[in-house]
Amino acid sequence: MALTEKIVQLKNEISKVIVGKDMEVELMAISLLFNGHILLESVPGTGKTLLAKSFATAIGGEFSRIQFTPDVLPSDVTGIQFFNPKVQEFELRPGPIKANIVLADEINRATPRTQSSLLEVMEERQVTIDGETLPLPEPFMVIATQNPVESQQGTFALPVAQMDRFFIKIRIGYPVYEDEKRIMHIHRGDKEINAIEQVFSNEEIGELKDSIKKIHLSSEMEDYVLKIIRKTRENNSIELGVSPRGTLALMRASQGKALLNGRTFVTPKDVKQVAPFVLSHRIYLSIEGALTKTPVTIIAEILDSTPVPVEAGANG
């Protein structure tokens, strides 16, 4: 089955329980192609956790969930070494992090120390427990959720280093009128998440990852991506611009978008469509910037002011 058909099937499966989230599902599929981690941010009750669980079910693999609270310790995430008196030796017991899809629910409720325990896991795809390092399974993806409203009450903002490790940040807004009506219809019955069927096998995900390497990024497009990144580092409202890891993420996400659109080359439109999701959480605003603008509006301004390479896709 072709990739586009698979993506349609993925959207259909998820739409059994979640309505009107096609763009979000597409972005999550792009992240999957690069083993990228996803941060879902929204006000309560908009379906973050359900979307994450549905996505995990649809792509199969081992799934685990960590419900973050202020008393969750780093060892509750990574695992522990405990002394087994029977064999008189320390034994390793990996935590819930050892799974293909890890749902880090309400991640900003954990203390910064616990949040930091995910740093190595997310970047190196390995976990170190009391000096012993274990590789994590393939594919490995962290889907974290957070609620931006209660940022003052019992929550801890994610550190910049951790935000940078998220490939994509998706803001799930309120559904539009028609979608909300459909949600009401769907939830009259007892639609269970179990109704979602697995769409991708591990082998298929591997094949998709191979096919993404064939997506061409022309020299003009490379310049375009770099100009956008450079502007984030020179903007007066931004204190910390996008890191080189962010540059790679933008390039990859654009390639993923091109692949999902059935093309073998990246166009400026691909870059523009994914840039707000890839870049907005990687910039750290200055006080003046944060008081007057949002990261999304700044990225939109940068995209509007960056000249688009003409016929770059055709050249490629």
Partner: protein, 398 residues
């Protein structure tokens, strides 16, 4: 969109009607078709004019999308007004926008009148079309500017009279102009002696729930501080290292009233508190803010719970921007007693504004519970922060 509609008719049109009737009689008397056609033309113009004035404006709407612009003084932005026309075409129309004087239009010719600016923009729009009009402005002073009224003046296509559409509702566009900080003498970070949960460089207290590391055991270490697992692994006794913690945070209270009116030094006090907000943000000090302005919420005054970070700073500055001379205040002592009995206290309390003897009693009661009191006052056009002491308190000397 709901409009109030007014028709402004010109007297000329009555003259035209009269002339048309006279011409009809004249055409009958003169048996002249030409005169009759002229009369019919005059009548047709009059009827079309009336019809246009009556019907124009039906189907005119303005997109009322919520939009909040946040600006510093001298910051620039614009009002965006999108007009949709589903009715008769409008030629040489005029859009009049009335907005608060906290932001001023770019044109230097326009002057504010009764705390409002009025600006006129000519426009034309055909049937089933959309037109966007931008009105640039510059932030002039602290406050929240709104578009208070919109008027659309539509002249008749035939030149006789006009129709005026007046908006019944506010537009959901806001321009929040942040207050400017005023330097405050004596503003320094204070160390608390209260136990709390915030990690600080020095404190008497430790967070026993979360060891941050280990070090070699020394004989003076308490036995319950030994890290047994680390000791077993390294085969030497290891002591847990804990983070030092303390309670940090401010309560800031502003008294906006002076008797039955709003204090004359409101702007200066707000600017002083703005300096506090920036200072606390830079040092990551959490703080709460209460202002004795009446609200309809759970607390009867403006209250922002303890918080830190950019979002809190934004909320604080927006709250300070929203205070105006038109606000209704509640007695400051009433606010303080509610605060004392129901809201969480911080190790430091900063009072700003007028202080009466009854206020002193409430404040010094708080002081007896270990809260350190400070007062912000304005002296020589700058803020001064000083400690509040109860001079009447009896001290026992040993």
């Amino acid at each position: 969109m709901i409009w109030n509609k007014y028709l402004v008719e010109e007297r000329k049109i009555q003259g035209i009607n009269g002339a048309a009737i006279l011409l009809i009689f004249a055409s009958l008397y003169m048996q002249s078709k030409l005169v009759l056609y002229l009369a019919v033309f005059f009548l047709a113009v009059s009827i079309a004019n009336q019809l246009y004035l009556k019907r124009v404006g039906e189907g005119v709407s303005i997109d009322n999308i919520p939009d909040k612009k946040r600006l510093f003084v001298n910051g620039k932005s614009e009002w965006t007004i999108t007009i949709q026309n589903g009715g008769f075409p409008i030629l040489k129309g005029e859009l009049k926008v009335f907005f608060d004087h906290f932001v001023a239009p770019e044109s230097s010719q326009i002057e504010s009148n009764l705390f409002m600016y009025e600006i006129s923009v000519p426009f034309s729009i055909y049937t089933q079309k959309t037109k966007q009009i931008w009105i640039p402005y510059t932030a002039k002073m602290r406050g929240i500017a709104k578009i208070r009224k919109l008027e659309i003046h539509i002249p008749s296509l035939f030149g006789f009279g006009e129709t005026v559409l007046e908006s019944k509702h506010f537009l959901k566009q806001l321009a929040i102009v942040y207050p400017e900080p005023l330097p405050v003498k004596g503003l320094t970070e204070q160390m608390s002696i209260l136990q709390g949960t915030n990690a600080v460089p020095q404190s008497l207290y430790e967070d026993r729930l979360g060891p941050v590391g280990t070090r070699d055991y020394v004989p003076t270490d308490s036995f319950n501080k030994v890290h047994w697992k680390a000791s077993a692994k390294s085969q030497t006794l290891q002591t847990k290292i804990y983070e030092t913690i303390s309670e940090i945070g401010w309560n800031i209270a502003l008294n906006v009233s002076n008797g039955h009116s709003i204090t004359g030094s409101l702007e200066k006090l707000i600017s002083g508190l703005t300096e506090f907000a920036y200072f606390a943000h830079k040092r990551n000090i959490p703080y709460s803010l209460c202002i004795n302005v009446r609200t309809a919420g759970n607390t009867s005054f403006l209250y922002l719970a303890k918080g830190a970070g950019k979002e809190h700073l934004q909320k604080v500055l927006e709250t300070l921007s929203s205070i105006s001379l038109q606000n209704t205040s509640i007695p400051y002592d009433q606010m303080l007693s509610f605060f004392k009995n129901h809201l969480p206290e911080q190790p430091f309390f900063i009072h700003a504004g007028i202080r009466k003897d009854t206020t002193n009693k409430l404040l010094f009661d708080m002081g007896k519970r270990g809260i350190r009191l400070f007062e912000l006052f304005i002296e020589d056009e700058q803020g001064v922060l000083r400690g509040l002491e109860n001079r009447n308190e009896r001290r026992i000397s040993l």
